[in-house]
């Protein structure tokens, strides 16, 4: 499978758009556990982004490390601290 522009740049733009939306959501949600989960979603979209850019090794690591483990530890901490943030 090679990378050529005519088909995929719309798909590429879609992923980037979703990433920006997840990023803004993660920062503005009041509930910390929900913003932790949205950060996990953000990492998954990043992993999609890497696969789309033909960076397969990186996508694999991002999926395993970025999406899975960091989401687990962020959610674990979010449950440990006060659940509601002021801003």
């Amino acid at each position: 499978m090679t990378w050529d522009a005519n088909l995929l740049w719309q798909f590429d733009m879609l992923i980037l758009l979703m990433m920006v939306i997840c990023a803004v959501a993660a920062l503005s949600l009041k509930g910390l556990v929900s913003s932790a989960v949205v950060t996990g979603a953000y990492s998954f979209f990043t992993c999609l982004m890497w696969t789309h850019m033909m960076a397969v090794d990186v996508a694999f690591t991002e999926a395993a490390v970025g999406a899975a483990v960091s989401t687990v530890i962020i959610v674990a901490t979010a449950q440990y601290i006060n659940p509601w943030s002021k801003d």
């Binding site: 090794d57 694999f60 690591t61 395993a64 483990v69 530890i73």
Partner: protein, 249 residues
């Protein structure tokens, strides 16, 4: 201070966005990055290290000094988290207050876990040892192996997982993985080549230089895998239980 910071950020953003004009076009094969070093890796990589996956070759051989320090960073992270958080339990910890109650909804989870975890660990080993030919390698394999233990502790309980993978063992694995990696480098040094020059293993293993490099990469990937696995588990143990290893996520 806050509005002041916002204005500066906005100005920097506008300035840098307009400046992207000068960057080379996206994805053009003639860009400097694609014509200076990378072609060298692709063309000579296979002949010198006999590993089709060029990323693993560059990661574990050409820039193995970087990856050594990267596994040391991961090791340092588990050390710091353990130093900062680890303390003996002080009775009523705050976890209970915020964490949702778990009333006996574990049967499905436990059933699924029993079947997934062994497959997951085998897949992790596959990913680790097939780093040469398919995407994957030390980090990815190690994390998936670590994730299997985290899944175990999520479905059962932290105590249950800790009986299988004791905290002392976790710390020893962290250190031993990085020691294995640095040890291989030292062995190459002892054999007269420079630090992390896997060609030095040729004498030991009785193979050609190229194959020695390939086996060197494999051994190094194993070292990294062990460290990363142990670190992910140790991070989870400390962070999920708030440091007193009482009650996980």
């Amino acid at each position: 201070m806050k509005p002041f910071a916002r204005i500066i950020l906005f100005l920097c953003a506008v300035m840098m966005l307009t400046a992207t004009v000068d960057l080379p076009d996206w994805a053009d094969p003639g860009s400097p990055a694609s014509t200076h070093l990378s072609p060298g890796f692709i063309e000579q990589g296979y002949h010198e290290t006999a590993t089709p996956n060029v990323v693993t070759a560059v990661l574990a051989d050409y820039r193995s000094y970087d990856t050594l320090f990267e596994s040391v960073v991961v090791f340092a992270a588990s050390l710091v988290v353990m130093l900062v958080l680890r303390r003996t339990s002080t009775g009523t910890s705050r976890i209970k207050h915020f964490r949702p109650k778990r009333e006996g909804r574990d049967t499905i989870l436990r059933g699924a876990a029993q079947s997934i975890i062994p497959v997951m660990q085998i897949f992790a080993l596959y990913v680790l040892f097939h780093g040469h030919y398919s995407p994957g390698g030390g980090f990815q394999g190690g994390v998936i192996f670590g994730a299997s233990f985290i899944l175990l502790s999520l479905c059962y309980s932290l105590k249950f997982a800790m009986q299988r993978f004791k905290e002392k063992m976790v710390l020893i694995c962290c250190a031993c993985g990085a020691l294995l990696y640095a040890g291989i480098g030292a062995v190459c040094l002892a054999m007269g080549w420079n630090f992390l020059g896997y060609a030095g293993l040729a004498g030991l293993l009785g193979v050609t230089d190229v194959m020695a490099r390939s086996h060197g990469i494999l051994a190094v990937e194993a070292g990294v895998g062990i460290t990363v696995m142990a670190v992910m588990v140790s991070l989870y143990y400390d962070l999920a239980s708030g440091g007193d290893m009482e009650e996980g996520l």
